[in-house]
Amino acid sequence: MALLEVEALSRSFGGVHAVQDLSFEIEQGKIHSIIGPNGAGKTTVFNLITGLYRPSSGRVVFDGVEVTGYVPHELARRGMSRTFQNLQICFNMSAVENVMVGAHLRLDQGMLGSMLRIPTVARRDAECRDEARELMRFVGLDRYVGAAADSMPYGALKRLEIARALAARPKLLLLDEPAAGLNPTETHEIDALIQRIGDSGVTVVLVEHDMKLVMGISARILVLDYGRKLAEGSAQEVRGNPEVIAAYLGGSVEAGST
C-alpha cells in the first residue's frame, strides 16, 4: 500500500516552475530516494509534502487522507517528519532539548499544568529527556548528549536533526541531503544509520547527491530534472536510463556505483 501519493503536483515561483506535474507514490516500509541536479526541485517537493509551501496545483494523499494544503503541524500530527538541507537547529537550546522538541506532540501541552508543574507533566518530561538521550546515542551522538547545540560541529548537527525527527516516532521520514558536507567515514555512518531507521519500520524518503549511498540503499529512486520526473525505478533501472545519464553529464551515476 502506498503511504504517500503525490498527484500532478506543481509549484512555481514567479516564472520558475520549481515542480511541474509531478506524480509518484511512496510505499510503506521502504527506503525511497529522490535524486536530480541542483535546482531540480527536490527540496521544493519536500516543502510541498510537509506543508511549508502550498502547491500551485495537484494533490497529496498521506496515509489514506488527502492532506493537500495542510499546515506543517497538522501533518506532523499525522506522522510526517523531516530534516533540512540547510539546518534548522534551535541554537538557543541544548542538543537534548532540540531532540525533545521533536517529541512535542507526545507530551502534555497544557499551559496551566506546565505553570504549576503538576507531577504528571514533570515525570513525563523527565522520561522524554531520557528517550531523547537514547535517540542521540542511536544516531551516534553519544559524546554530545550534554552539549549545547551551538557548540556542535556541522556533521553532528545533521544527526541531531535526524534524532529530532525520529523523536516524533514518524510513519514517514523525509531526509534532505543528510550526507551533504560529510567526509567519507561520516557518510558511511549515515548510510548505516538510514538503513537501521528503515529496518525499524519507518518509511524513508531520501534526497541525496552521494550516488553510492543512494544506489546501495534505495528500493526505488525518483529522478527529477527541471521540476519534472525524468525517470523512476529501481537502482538498476535508473542507472541504465540514457536520459538520466545525460542529465548527469554522462557517467557520474555510473561512477558513483562503482
Binding site: A76, F84, S114
Partner: protein, 308 residues
C-alpha cells in the same frame, strides 16, 4: 535541586535586604524593583524566550491599574476581586488582539504592539469620565479580609512573595514542553512547525500570559502608589520594561530581575540630572545591544562556565 538554587539565593536576598533599608524611601525603591521585576519576568517569556517583541506591554499594565482603580473606588469591589477581574479582562483582550498582531514579524510586530500600547494610552486619556483623564485618579489602599497593606514594610513582604511566586511559575513554564515549544519558536520557527508545534497558538498563549503578568503588577502598583495617571501605560514605560529585559538578559529569568533592579535604581541615582533620565536609558539600551547583546546575566554565566 538546580531549579531552586537561584530561587533560594533571591529569597535570601529578599529576607536579608531589610537590614540595609534605612528609611521608607529605601523601601519604596525596593518595592518598585520587586514589582518591575515581576512584570519583566513575565515579559521575558514573550521577548526573551519566544523571541517576540512587544513595545506595548505598558498598555496591559495600565489596563490592570485602571481596572483596580475604577472597580474599587466606583463600585466598591474588594481589591483582590478587582485585580483578578482586571487580569481576566486583560487576558481576553490580549487573546483577541494577539492572533492578528503576532502573525507579524520583526519591525512590523514592533510597530503593531507600539500601536496597541498607544491606543490603550489614548483610551485612558480620553475616557476621562471613568479615568479622570490626564488629571489621574486616586486608588484606595489594598486590603484583603479586613487586613490593609498600609505601610512600606507590609508592601515589601507582599511584593517579595509575589516576585518569588512569579519566578516559580515562569521557570516552570520555561522548563516544560510548553517552554520548549516557545524557545523553539525563537530558535527555528520552521523546525518547530515541522515538529508539530502550532507556533501561532503558542505565540498567542505566551502573549496572553505576559499580558496577565503585566495587568497583575499594574493593579499592585496602583494600590501601592495610591494615584495613577495614563502615563503608566505610556510608550516610555513600555520602553523601560523592554530595556530591563534586554539589559538583564534575554531568556534569563534572573537576568530580568537584575535588569529590573538596575533600571529601577538608576533614575533614583540620576535624579540630579532631572529630565535627562530618558537619554541615559536610551544610551544604556544602545550600549547593551552593541556590547552585551545577550544581556548581563547570560554573558556573565557564559564567562563563568568558560573559566571552569
Amino acid at each position: 535541586m538546580d531549579r531552586f538554587r537561584g530561587l533560594a539565593v533571591l529569597a535570601l536576598i529578599i529576607v536579608v535586604l531589610p537590614l540595609a533599608l534605612r528609611n521608607s524611601y529605601h523601601y519604596d525603591v525596593a518595592i518598585r524593583i520587586g514589582m518591575n521585576a515581576t512584570m519583566v519576568v513575565g515579559l521575558n517569556l514573550l521577548i526573551g524566550y519566544a523571541g517576540q517583541i512587544s513595545l506595548g506591554h505598558a498598555g496591559f499594565f495600565g489596563l490592570g491599574a485602571y481596572a483596580s482603580a475604577i472597580l474599587t473606588s466606583r463600585y466598591g469591589w474588594p481589591p483582590i476581586a478587582a485585580m483578578i477581574s482586571g487580569m481576566a479582562a486583560v487576558g481576553v483582550i490580549a487573546f483577541v488582539v494577539a492572533r492578528p498582531i503576532l502573525r507579524l514579524r520583526g519591525h512590523y510586530l514592533a510597530m503593531a504592539t507600539l500601536g496597541l500600547g498607544i491606543i490603550i494610552y489614548m483610551v485612558l486619556v480620553n475616557e476621562s469620565g471613568w479615568t479622570g483623564g490626564n488629571d489621574g485618579m486616586n486608588v484606595k489602599a489594598f486590603s484583603i479580609f479586613g487586613f490593609s497593606l498600609a505601610n512600606e514594610r507590609a508592601w515589601y513582604w507582599v511584593t517579595g512573595a509575589v516576585l518569588l511566586v512569579a519566578i516559580v511559575l515562569a521557570r516552570n513554564i520555561v522548563d516544560s514542553p510548553v517552554g520548549r515549544a516557545l524557545r523553539a519558536v525563537h530558535g527555528s520557527e520552521t523546525a518547530a512547525q515541522v515538529a508539530g508545534i502550532d507556533t501561532a497558538r503558542y505565540k498567542v498563549r505566551v502573549f496572553v500570559v505576559s499580558a496577565v503578568f503585566a495587568s497583575a503588577v499594574g493593579s499592585m502598583m496602583a494600590h501601592y502608589v495610591g494615584f495613577i495617571t495614563p502615563q503608566v501605560s505610556s510608550f516610555f514605560h513600555s520602553i523601560e520594561l523592554v530595556t530591563m529585559v534586554v539589559v538583564g538578559g534575554m531568556a534569563s529569568t534572573y537576568g530580568a530581575v537584575l535588569g529590573a533592579a538596575i533600571l529601577t535604581m538608576l533614575p533614583q541615582l540620576l535624579s540630579r540630572f532631572e529630565g535627562y533620565e530618558m537619554i541615559v536609558f536610551g544610551l544604556i539600551l544602545m550600549l547593551t545591544v552593541i556590547f552585551l547583546p545577550r544581556g548581563l546575566v547570560p554573558t556573565i554565566a557564559a564567562r563563568l562556565r568558560k573559566s571552569d
